[in-house]
């Protein structure tokens, strides 16, 4: 069963996965190009570090996009027929959804691997200053975790029925508005910062995006 669900996932997402993989493979090389034509010449440590600094935020955006993309296509296919087919299959709905989730999550590994390979290639070509080190594996793993988180969030929203998803989104929105209004009228900015801090530091859900996404670091 899972084999066939994975097969359909691959069939629907192969173009997206291919594009993502090419992009993640090529992106470190693009940044290397900028560093290679550095102002101070010969890959000074500062330029190498600064040159690759924007790679992290860009990969964060790619990770979120990857998660989104891998949910969108299968969802669209099932949604076009109002999920009649999966509902008519002889397996509990939660088992179907879990397999669908697993199939998409498995495909997220591919762009992470190509990112790792692209990073290795760049690190092999670049002369890394003695005070710095490359972290291709760590970066690729963070990318994978980031895309998994984005994928899970979008997946949950999509696969909840329309009313429940709308209620959940509305609840989150109302919660944010209430916190913001409370902070405004009471002047208690600590509440807002506290909420944000809990989200972006471990074990908050957004912590993986707040960590260091550096390919080259000390």
């Amino acid at each position: 069963m899972f084999g066939q669900i994975l097969y359909t996932q691959v069939k629907w997402s192969r173009t997206a996965v291919a594009i993502l993989s090419i992009v993640t493979f090529a992106t470190p090389a693009l940044f290397w190009r900028m560093v290679h034509e550095g102002f101070f010449g010969q890959n000074s440590a500062m330029e190498v570090m600064n040159g690759f600094e924007a790679l992290g935020p860009m990969l964060v955006a790619f990770a979120v996009f990857a998660g989104l993309l891998l949910v969108a296509q299968p969802w669209a296919v099932d949604s076009a027929a109002r999920h009649v087919y999966p509902l008519a299959l002889p397996l509990p709905w939660r088992k179907y959804v879990a397999m669908r989730f697993g199939a998409g999550a498995l495909l997220l590994v591919i762009p992470a691997i190509t990112l790792w390979l692209g990073s290795l290639l760049v690190l092999a070509l670049i002369e890394i200053p003695a005070t710095l080190r490359g972290y291709p594996g760590t970066l690729a793993l963070r990318y994978l975790l980031g895309s998994l988180l984005a994928y899970s969030a979008v997946f949950a929203l999509q696969y909840l029925s329309g009313r429940r998803a709308a209620h959940l989104l509305l609840g989150i929105l109302i919660g944010l508005v209430v916190v913001a209004l409370a902070a405004e009228f009471s002047g208690n900015t600590a509440l807002l910062y506290s909420v944000v801090n809990r989200l972006i530091h471990w074990p908050g859900p957004l912590a993986v995006f707040g960590d260091s996404w550096m390919l080259i670091d000390v």
């Binding site: 959804v97 975790l145 993986v208």
Partner: protein
């Protein structure tokens, strides 16, 4: 206007008004009188600022400390938290650095105002008398911990202000950077455009001793820089006192890749500090932490010595040992081990599992 500039101005004024040749002692006496007048002027300036900001509102007193604020800006709850934060800061200074540390904050004259800009009207706490006019934004309701941290930070400023060698060494850097600052310091050191900084980052303690001394006008450049660094030196240096046409032409050639132009230019430049106050400030903090309760007292007693020697004395250890332990500490903040990603891995999978559980709720058409 900084007090240094004011002092120089006064000095020139004194020199300019000299109607006859004066002895060194006479000039020294004139300087002392000028300094005294400068001190009075600075105090008067602080008083005027205080009156302008707070009018006749009394504020509060806590030990030897005075905190001015407008009654309308601070609720009774916030002023109580402010008072407790002051106590907490002084208590911590006493715990870590003994009476010498506590005394740095004992006579603080602080002000608290409400910022009008922005939607959240945060408070700002600052040292009224601090030459650097250090300011920190506080959230509402006032958090004692934030106030305590400010007190310690401001005490660091006072420490630097009291010891001219330290002022030159570390500027007005924070007294207690945390692990995040350590990581940033490690990065700055590793990416320094001075070879000495990079050698220090790589673990050469001798190079750390070099960069611990700020670059002076007479400092030999080859102690800090290698020829490959010259272009960076030229790009970041202050403009020297030579004709514009000579300087800019040479600079353009250097930045375009002419190494000889760079080598010639660096001889006449006043290079910018490649290390920065923040990094030296962390050495200062580390020295005080090693020194314990007597650290500050020892540091203040060693005012006239070379900064690194003074810090080593404060730490109660040798210069090399101080730098070595400091290096280990900052690099511990960026050390990565094989298990660093275990927590992120497990946490992300935990959240993914939770979201999956939400998604698998029974669905109908």
């Amino acid at each position: 206007m900084s007090d240094r500039s004011a002092l120089l101005g006064l000095l020139f004024a004194v020199a300019a008004t000299a109607t006859r040749a004066q002895s060194v002692d006479e000039l020294r006496a004139e300087l002392q009188r000028a300094e005294s007048r400068l001190g009075i002027a600075v105090a008067r300036q602080a008083q005027l600022r205080e009156t302008r900001l707070f009018g006749s509102d009394a504020g509060l007193r806590s030990g030897g400390r005075r905190v001015r604020y407008r009654t309308a800006d601070l609720s009774p709850r916030d002023s109580a938290a402010l008072s407790r934060g002051l106590e907490l800061g002084v208590t911590r200074l006493r715990e870590w650095y003994g009476d010498a540390g506590a005394s740095l904050a004992d006579t603080a004259s602080l002000g608290v105002t409400s910022e009008r800009r922005g939607a959240f009207r945060p408070l700002v706490i600052f040292s009224i008398a601090s030459p650097n006019f250090t300011r920190v934004r506080l959230s509402r309701p006032v958090d004692e911990e934030e106030v305590a941290r400010f007190v310690i930070h401001e005490a660091g400023d006072r420490l630097s202000a009291r010891t001219p060698t330290l002022r030159r060494f570390a500027g007005y850097s924070a007294m207690l950077p945390g692990p995040r600052e350590d990581a940033e310091i490690a990065r700055r050191l590793a990416t320094s455009w001075a070879a000495a900084g990079r050698r220090c980052a790589a673990g050469a303690i001798g190079a750390c001793a070099t960069v611990a001394e700020p670059i002076g006008p007479d400092s030999p450049l080859d102690l800090y820089f290698e020829p490959s660094d010259f272009r960076a030196v030229v790009a970041s240096a202050n403009r020297p006192a030579i004709a514009d046409s000579v300087f800019y032409a040479s600079r353009r050639r250097c930045l375009a890749g002419a190494d000889t132009a760079c080598a010639r230019l660096v001889r006449i430049l006043d290079p910018a500090d490649p290390i920065g106050d923040h990094i030296r400030g962390s050495i200062l903090t580390h020295a005080l932490a090693l020194g314990g309760r007597d650290g500050i007292a020892r540091l203040l007693a060693a005012r006239d010595t070379v900064p690194l020697a003074a810090l080593a004395r404060a730490a109660g250890t040798s210069e090399d040992a101080l730098l070595s332990s400091w290096h280990t500490k900052i690099y511990a903040a960026v050390r990565r081990g094989p298990f660093d990603l275990v927590v992120p891995f497990l946490t992300t999978f935990g959240w993914a599992a939770l979201l999956l559980a939400v998604a698998t709720r029974r669905r109908y058409l």
